[in-house]
């Protein structure tokens, strides 16, 4: 795969997160019941940054949780590569909370479907809304995001890679293209 285009740099990611934080506050005046839950791995780092941004604006620190959706995947029995199971870390009750679910890239919607099923096994929140850094289209399920950092048109031959300092040492979003014959 070769790099085709850089979509966001460090400042771009920061700005996108800040904007999503503002949109969330505008929609939900009372930040007291907000919790931010990221889908492992990069969704968790984004959730942490989003919570920090919300705290900066409102002075209220929302709780942050991490969701590992491996056990809820709909392709567990067909995938060739063995998934790594990690523990979800939700150290608070989500019942009656306003949940902002966070992931890096929204694509088919299957990951979000798995995350929704898992979240509801943890409790009954007031609502769940979805925030993603990148929406690249090609949904296979009726799922749509409530907050988007950036919409980008892609082809299915392309892969969107979100790289974050916490996991990759650098903040950037790039489009990679599969080379011919691959």
């Amino acid at each position: 795969m070769k790099e085709k285009a850089k979509i966001l740099d460090k400042a771009g990611i920061q700005k996108a997160i800040m904007r999503i934080a503002h949109e969330i506050i505008e929609k939900h005046k009372d930040a007291g019941d907000l919790v931010v839950i990221g889908i492992m791995n990069r969704g968790v780092f984004l959730a942490q940054r989003l919570a920090e941004a919300i705290a900066e604006i409102t002075g209220i620190n929302p709780s942050v949780g991490a969701l590992d959706i491996t056990l809820y995947r709909d392709d567990l029995s067909v995938i060739a590569e063995q998934p790594v199971v990690r523990a979800s870390e939700l150290l608070f009750d989500i019942t009656e909370k306003k949940v902002i679910l966070v992931d890096d890239v929204l694509y088919t919607g299957r990951t979000v479907r798995a995350a929704l099923t898992e979240l509801i096994d943890f409790g009954r929140p007031q609502f769940i809304q979805l925030a993603v850094l990148i929406d690249r289209g090609f949904r296979e399920l009726p799922i749509r995001p409530d907050f988007v950092g950036k919409n980008i048109p892609t082809s299915q031959r392309e892969v969107v890679e979100v790289r974050l300092e916490e996991s990759d040492g650098v903040d950037e979003v790039v489009i990679m293209e599969k080379e011919n014959g691959v």
């Binding site: 809820y72 523990a87 099923t117």
Partner: protein, 322 residues
């Protein structure tokens, strides 16, 4: 949380390939650590409001027990159900085994029912291996004769790690009928692979010859063995297996090897006391020890579920035949 995710990723890089879990002797240190790390992730599920994940939905687990067992069978059943598998318990007393069907034939019949995993306990050493070789579906050994009881050892080790961290260099005493204990054998394989020093302690007649070749130390005095120990795993005295009167009398055994408060006072203050159950109070240990603050006996039961969930999940992903 960031560092927790990073370490979890680093630890889980080994892959699980085997379709069966037959014993700890044939596992590498990395495979044992993979099971333990996976179990760590699964433990959290039992504390949820809805204690169930859909990972094995649509899979069937058959508990095939040729020996009486309540806790191991129930633990496997709970583990399978928390993963959303369907569980069938085959009670051997009422099955066609009494009509002369062989173990392999029973296994083939269960496979023909399209089961995915058989959990087997049998009084013959090697029974699980034989079944695994004849079947394409997964086989998990829940105890075979005097040979191995891998999930018990894994849950013992999991509990030790939870309490003490790394096992490297720790001294673990196993006291009781070492000769007839599959729990002892699996523990010895697992503990030594993870770097612990194992001391076995029993009257000479209950210690098999040449056990030192497994890399353990032998000590016939429990007071001596306990002195430097970080943990003691107290085996059940299986008086029901004693046919030729080779066992000491129960009261004599308690006096010579029973774990009492007086004995623990001479050991390390935070020594961990384990027992695989069922416990004979007043024979293997006194009640005040079993219920005391060094005892982790009930935590072992809780951890058993997470460990068995990890094992069922991993073997269901494995393809490699034994």
């Amino acid at each position: 949380m960031r560092t927790a995710i990073a370490t979890q990723r680093a630890q889980n890089r080994t892959l699980w390939r085997k379709k069966d879990l037959l014993g700890l002797r044939t596992l590498s240190r990395e495979e044992i650590e993979l099971i333990l790390n996976t179990a760590k992730s699964f433990k959290e599920i039992s504390s949820r409001q809805i204690k169930k994940v859909p990972a094995l939905r649509g899979k069937m687990v058959v508990n095939l027990f040729y020996e009486p067992s309540t806790r191991t069978r129930v633990s496997f059943e709970v583990a399978a159900k928390r993963l959303s598998a369907d569980v069938i318990n085959v009670a051997v007393e009422t099955s066609s085994v009494r009509k002369g069907e062989t173990l392999t034939d029973t296994g083939l019949n269960i496979e023909a029912l399209k089961a995915d995993i058989i959990v087997v306990r049998h009084n013959c050493s090697g029974a699980a291996l034989m079944l695994a070789r004849h079947l394409g579906i997964s086989v998990v050994n829940a105890g075979d004769g005097w040979h191995e009881h891998p999930t018990q050892a894994l849950l013992d080790i999991f509990t030790l790690q939870e309490k003490l961290g790394s096992l490297e260099g720790l001294r673990v005493v196993i006291v009781g009928d070492i000769a007839h204990s599959r729990v002892a054998r699996s523990n010895i394989w697992g503990l030594t692979k993870l770097g612990a020093k194992v001391v076995v302690c029993a009257p000479p007649m209950l210690i098999p010859e040449a056990i030192e070749q497994m890399g353990v130390e032998v000590n016939h005095s429990i007071d001596d063995a306990l002195r430097e120990a970080d943990a003691v795993n107290v085996l059940r005295m299986q008086f029901e297996r004693d046919e030729g009167g080779a066992f000491p009398e129960q009261l004599d055994y308690f006096k010579a090897f029973g774990i009492t408060r007086e004995r623990l006072q001479k050991a390390k203050k935070n020594i961990i006391v384990m027992h695989p159950g069922p416990l004979n109070r007043g024979i293997e240990m006194s009640s005040d020890v079993a219920d005391g603050q060094n005892s982790v006996i009930l935590e072992q039961v809780t951890n058993g579920i997470a460990v068995r969930m990890a094992v069922l999940f991993l073997v269901s992903q494995g393809k490699e035949k034994s």
